[in-house]
Each structure stands twice: as structure tokens, then as C-alpha cells.
Assembly symmetry: C2
Homo-oligomer: 281 residues x 2
């Protein structure tokens, strides 16, 4: 496994693999790798001859009051995780490698980026799209792997990839959860022990909503009220950022729960913002 | 020479050429080809093993009151021009090929797109960047050729290409002019005979400004006033959209003309908007 920091190096690795007829898979991460990321590496391994894992904490997807500077950075452990799980190349560029001086270009996906997490994180998805577009042009993968835990991100990246004709297949892999249901996230490391216990309320409220919908397809309002009540009663001091039931493709709010829907929520434990979601139907 | 309409076809042509070790050059046009476009094809021919000319009148770079529907379309003559000048592939996609249903993605270059033509054509350069990004991903050229007549466009595309790490070299070729100095433009076809005569005032005013600057480097205000006076006195009923003297890299207004500057102007003859520019120093 090679660990490289420059664009020329990663391009050389990819060019060599492609000349040998290999399919190139990209797992784009911000590091602090956990079992969710490992599942993406495994999926890439299963369908690609060269697996590239990028590790880059992307400043442009963090708001000015968000956790860019304290976001967990564990490069040595990440390299070890990649090695153990069969990655071929780890691309760990510095910020100045990805964002040269005088950069002014932004990739934006209308509508999809303005709902759900986009409301409380203005500019977040433009930052994601811009860096993913850059990584696609740097690595030139055939396939790129993203986690369903970041459902809105995956939806937006799929839209961007189609809209800009990137010759990249987007593969979305299932959310990986802890034994008690909490979705794996690098930000779980921020939680105090009591917050960690309370955080199971996110997945519980999704399961509660799924059960309600399967039983009787009540209007979305009713389901959301039950989810909010559960979150409030079971998660102590956590503040609900949003609980929404949306169309899984357009991400716009729906009232009927008879057709397939996406349940999505974001909750803050102090400074720590956690998200989760579930497709139902 | 092949004439193709689909993305798969043009990608197949490029893949075959690349497998044969050829460098791929792209000339992206909106058709109605003139000697300016031919100079780009010639430049591409001189440095590329495969020359692809795209012909696509891009709706997203036209404002709602602009000339999208009446923009000149001369496909048969364009194909003949490409053939005579040694293009290998002409890519003529329909609008629905380039813009599939549900598209929501936009590429924007901050600052550079908001001055000069961006002021009177809001959204124009986002449309240009989006379609050029798409063409880069569809054709995957090694080099792409643009005309200096659209200086702001070339500057913005160069910025976008660097910012998004497209592996494409941007080549900007000199403006081609009629014998009396009028810059070649597909929109010159709109001009009445008397407007066509008056339109020489654009280049004359650039030459006047160049002469003033070379003589004495007067403040930009003085030069602009002289250019405006010349345009007004010599171009009859034409309306000046802008006359600006800007930094050739940032495109921001400058007051001193001692360092290199870009002289840029836009003038309307009735519904017809013409632009021109000159680098000085």
C-alpha cells in the first residue's frame, strides 16, 4: 500500500493501474476511520482492482462556527486501518494541495442542498460538491463509494455526477451501526458517556417511525410528533435540529407516508451534531 | 471526419484515439463558425492527434431576454468548415443530451464572473462554466482552445479548470479580426449594413486607448472618457454597455495604466450586443 500526499503521485498510481486494465475505486473520507468507512473500503475492494482512500478534512464544508479545527484527526491509525483492509493507495493531501491560492470556483446543487442539513449548514453541500468534484478530477475513479448515513450527501453527489457527466459510478453502501443502533460517525468520539447513552434515541426514533408507518401509514406530521416526543423524552438535554419525512429522491417534505419516504433527523448534544436516517417503504 | 450526436459516440472516438497514444484537443463552440473558430481548430490541429469540435448552442448561458432562440445556427456549413480545416470529430448534441431531466448542478466562479459582461448578463458565466465542465467530462480532452475575444470567459475557464483540477490545458488564441478591425463574432451576422460600418468604432476606441496609454499612461478615467467619446461620436445610435480598464488577471477595475491592463468594452446596436478587448503593456 502506498501513502501519497501529492496530486501527481496519486495520478501516477491510478495511471499505472489503469494501464494494467484495473478498475479504480475511490473511498473519499475525512479520516478518523471507523467500521462505516471500512465497509466502504470492503465494497471498493470487492469491485475494483485499485482501491484509493482519500483522507482530507475539507475546510470548505465546515461553517465558521463548526468543528473544523477540532474534527478528529488520526492519520497513523487511519493508515493502519486502510492497510489492514486492503486499500492500495491512501491519498492524504494537505489543505494547500487541494485549495491552491486564488481559488474561486464552487459547485452547487440547487434545491437538494437547501433542505435537511442544508438549512442549518449553509454552504456545507457546496463545499462537499466542490471537493468531491476535485477528487474525481484528481483520482479519476471508475466508481466512488459513499455511506447511506450521509443520505443527503450521497443524493447530492449522485445528482452532481450525472449533471456534470463525470464518468464515475456512485455506489451507496448501507449505514453501519453500533450494537445499540447508533450510526457510526467520527463525531461520536465527541460524546460524553451519558450523551453516548442518550444518542441511541436517534435510531430508536427512526425505528418507532418505521413501525408506525408500517402499521397504518399515518400522516407525516403525526409520525414526526412521535419521533420528536421520543427524542425529547429519551435524549436528556439534546436539542432537535430537525426531524423530517421527505421524498427519497427530491428530499422535499411529504405529508403522505404511503409511498416510500426517507426519515431524517439531526440532533445536537452540546456542540456535537449527530444525524441519522432510514428509508421506509 | 465523424459527426456524432451522442455522449457514448464521442467518448468512443476519444477512447480509440487515446488508446493509440494521441493527444486530444477540444474546440468548444456554439457553431456559426467563422475565421475565429477556424484559428482555434488550426491551433488544435497543430498540437493534437485528435481534434474534437463541439457545436452546441448552450441555453443556460443565455438570459431570458437574450438571443438564444435566434442565435445563428448553420450546422451544414459548420460541418463543412470543420471538414475543410482538418477536424476529426464534430460533436453536435441536442439540448436533451447535454441537459437531462432534473438537472440541478451549477459551477460558479466567484468575483471573476460578476464584473464586465457578468454585470449585464447575470448567470451567463455560470452557464458557460457548467457546460464547459460537462464537455470536459464528456470529451476528456488534454487541451481545450478558446479565443481571446472572449477574454473574460477564457479567464474564468482557466480559473475553473485549475480550481476543480480538470486535467486539461487551456490554450487561449488571439482574436481574429475583419480587415477593418472588427472582431470576428457569430453575432456580427445580426448587424445591418450601417451598423456593420459603425461597429468598427469598437476596435478604433481600443486602438485609441492603447495609443494614449503608450504615450503617457494617463489615469484610467481619462482613457475611458476618450473611448466613450469616440464610441458615441462614431457609432451612431449604439449604446455603450460598459467600457472598463481592469487588471488582466483579477478583472477588477484599476486606476493606473502603468502596469499591464485589459481594455474591455461592450456595445449594443439595437438588440445586438458586441464585445471586444485588448491587453496593453
Amino acid at each position: 500500500m502506498k501513502v501519497v500526499e501529492t496530486i501527481d503521485e496519486v495520478r501516477a498510481c491510478v495511471a499505472e493501474a489503469r494501464a494494467a486494465g484495473k478498475v479504480v475505486g475511490l473511498v473519499a473520507t475525512m479520516g478518523a476511520l471507523h467500521a462505516g468507512h471500512v465497509s466502504l473500503v470492503n465494497a471498493a475492494r470487492a469491485s475494483s482492482g485499485l482501491v484509493v482512500v482519500s483522507i482530507f478534512v475539507n475546510p470548505t464544508q465546515f461553517g465558521p462556527t463548526e468543528d473544523f479545527s477540532r474534527y478528529p484527526r488520526t492519520p497513523q491509525a487511519d493508515i493502519e486501518t486502510c492497510r489492514r483492509n486492503g486499500a492500495d493507495v491512501v491519498f492524504m493531501p494537505g489543505v494547500e494541495t487541494i485549495y491552491g491560492p486564488g481559488g474561486k470556483t464552487e459547485v452547487r446543487v440547487r434545491d437538494l442542498g437547501e433542505t435537511l442539513c442544508g438549512r442549518s449548514r449553509p454552504g456545507h453541500f457546496a463545499g462537499v460538491c466542490t471537493v468531491v468534484g476535485k477528487l474525481f478530477n484528481i483520482v479519476a475513479p471508475d466508481r466512488a463509494f459513499f455511506g447511506a448515513k450521509d443520505y443527503q450527501q450521497a443524493t447530492i453527489i449522485r445528482r452532481m455526477t450525472a449533471d456534470l457527466n463525470f464518468p464515475v459510478e456512485i455506489v451507496v453502501c448501507p449505514t453501519v451501526r453500533e450494537a445499540d443502533g447508533l450510526a457510526m460517525s467520527s463525531r461520536n468520539a465527541y460524546l460524553t458517556p451519558s450523551e453516548r447513552q442518550q444518542a441511541t434515541a436517534l435510531y430508536e426514533s427512526l425505528c418507532l417511525a418505521e413501525w408506525m408507518i408500517r402499521q397504518a401509514h399515518p400522516p407525516a406530521d403525526e409520525v414526526i410528533a412521535a419521533m420528536r416526543a421520543h427524542l425529547t423524552s429519551r435524549s436528556g438535554g439534546a436539542a432537535v435540529d430537525y426531524v423530517q419525512i421527505v421524498d427519497p429522491d427530491t428530499l422535499q417534505d411529504v405529508q403522505s407516508t404511503s409511498d416510500p419516504v426517507l426519515l431524517a433527523l439531526a440532533v445536537r448534544f452540546g456542540q456535537t451534531r449527530l444525524i441519522d436516517n432510514m428509508r421506509v417503504g
